[in-house]
């Protein structure tokens, strides 16, 4: 086993707030350059750039996980990290069903682009992706877990779109696999991780978590969260 740096909260050009240089190819190149060994693409309420990123990651030798940053009905942002392509497709269907049909205004909010391997734009998502789903945080957690995925409330210490801002405190019956923190690391009964939440290329590689893993895979990451077979979180960046 060895220390592995991972950042599982990265936005691509599919997120309206993601800068236009955040193509999966650019993200992967920059992630490798900065010493990350595992990343996840986690756009707002969509997984549509994930398969491309995984394929490009395979070619380049970077472990890429499929994910999304979900906005629950309570407007709490939560990371959903999915185990494989099939679970991701099912999760994408769930997102489609629960999406509010509010039109995106690209000039105001930014473009929501799906790319192919040649960086051609193959789709532009019509509805504003970051809008709250019509599914509660409990329902989202249930669906993510039923698909074998990891459920991680995002930036829980931020003053907006976080568990604490929206719900005041951690609901006692929530069973997150980990929580993502941006500031001081609190004592909690859940594994606490740091990610970059990158929206621009220059943010990549600056904030991440170092894990003790056999190899950079979804299963190993899940084991680290559960503290199994000596897999664990070693440290987080400041």
């Amino acid at each position: 086993m060895r220390p592995i740096r991972a950042d599982i909260h990265i936005h691509s050009v599919l997120s309206p707030c993601g800068s236009l240089d955040m193509s999966p190819a650019s993200i992967i190149a920059r992630a490798i350059e900065t010493g990350l060994e595992m990343i996840a693409i986690s756009d707002h309420n969509s997984t549509l750039n994930c398969n491309l990123a995984v394929a490009l990651g395979n070619e380049a030798g970077l472990s890429v996980l499929r994910g999304a940053e979900v906005t629950t009905a309570e407007e709490v942002h939560c990371l959903a990290i999915l185990p494989d392509e099939k679970a991701t497709a099912l999760f994408q269907d769930f997102l489609g069903e629960k999406m509010q049909h509010i039109k995106n205004v690209p000039a105001k909010f930014g473009y929501q682009l799906v790319l192919d391997s040649d960086e051609n734009i193959i789709d532009e998502v019509e509805y504003f992706l970051p809008a709250a789903l019509t599914a509660s945080i409990d329902e989202v957690e249930r669906v993510v877990h039923s698909l074998g995925g990891l459920f991680i409330p995002a930036h829980i210490d931020r003053p907006a779109f976080s568990i604490f801002s929206q719900l005041g405190f951690m609901p006692s019956d929530l069973t997150p696999d980990a929580v993502e923190v941006t500031g001081k690391i609190p004592q909690m009964k859940y594994p606490v991780i740091r990610n970059s939440d990158s929206h621009t290329i220059d943010q990549l590689g600056k904030r991440y978590t170092t894990y003790m893993l056999e190899e950079p895979t979804f299963q190993e990451l899940a084991m680290a969260f559960r503290g199994e077979n000596e897999r664990r979180i070693i440290s987080v960046t400041p």
């Binding site: 509660s136 003053p159 604490f164 801002s165 929206q166 719900l167 005041g168 405190f169 609901p171």
Partner: protein
């Protein structure tokens, strides 16, 4: 003014927590962010929100709020209703938007 008076006057739906219908209402607070309500709502405020997560009941209890009005026709889940009954804090509903129901309560309470 009692919660029951507002229920009658504004034709509010009673989801749960009927034991608290005689709670006293002295003012109101309108917000959907539970951290904001935790920080700023005064005791005795009836709380107007579209937030239906069960944590609203814990916040209402913590802040001594007499009742919660769920606006815009939103419906609380079973777990929220159970908490409301357990705490004896009425969970009320209306089709009115938060702005409208807040304005009406503001006038009824005669707040200047």
């Amino acid at each position: 003014m009692k919660v029951i008076d507002l229920v009658n006057e504004l034709k509010l739906h009673l989801f749960s927590g009927k034991e608290g219908l005689n709670n006293d209402v002295s003012c109101g607070y309108t917000s959907d962010l539970l951290s904001d309500v935790m920080g700023h709502a005064e005791a005795g405020s009836i709380w107007i929100t579209i937030q239906t997560h069960k944590n609203v009941m814990a916040i209402a209890s913590l802040k001594d709020l007499p009742a919660i009005i769920i606006s815009s026709g939103e419906k609380p889940g079973e777990d929220t209703i159970e908490q409301s009954n357990a705490e004896g804090i009425p969970l009320l509903g209306t089709e009115m938007r938060s702005f409208e129901v807040s304005g009406k309560i503001f006038n009824i309470l005669g707040i200047k």
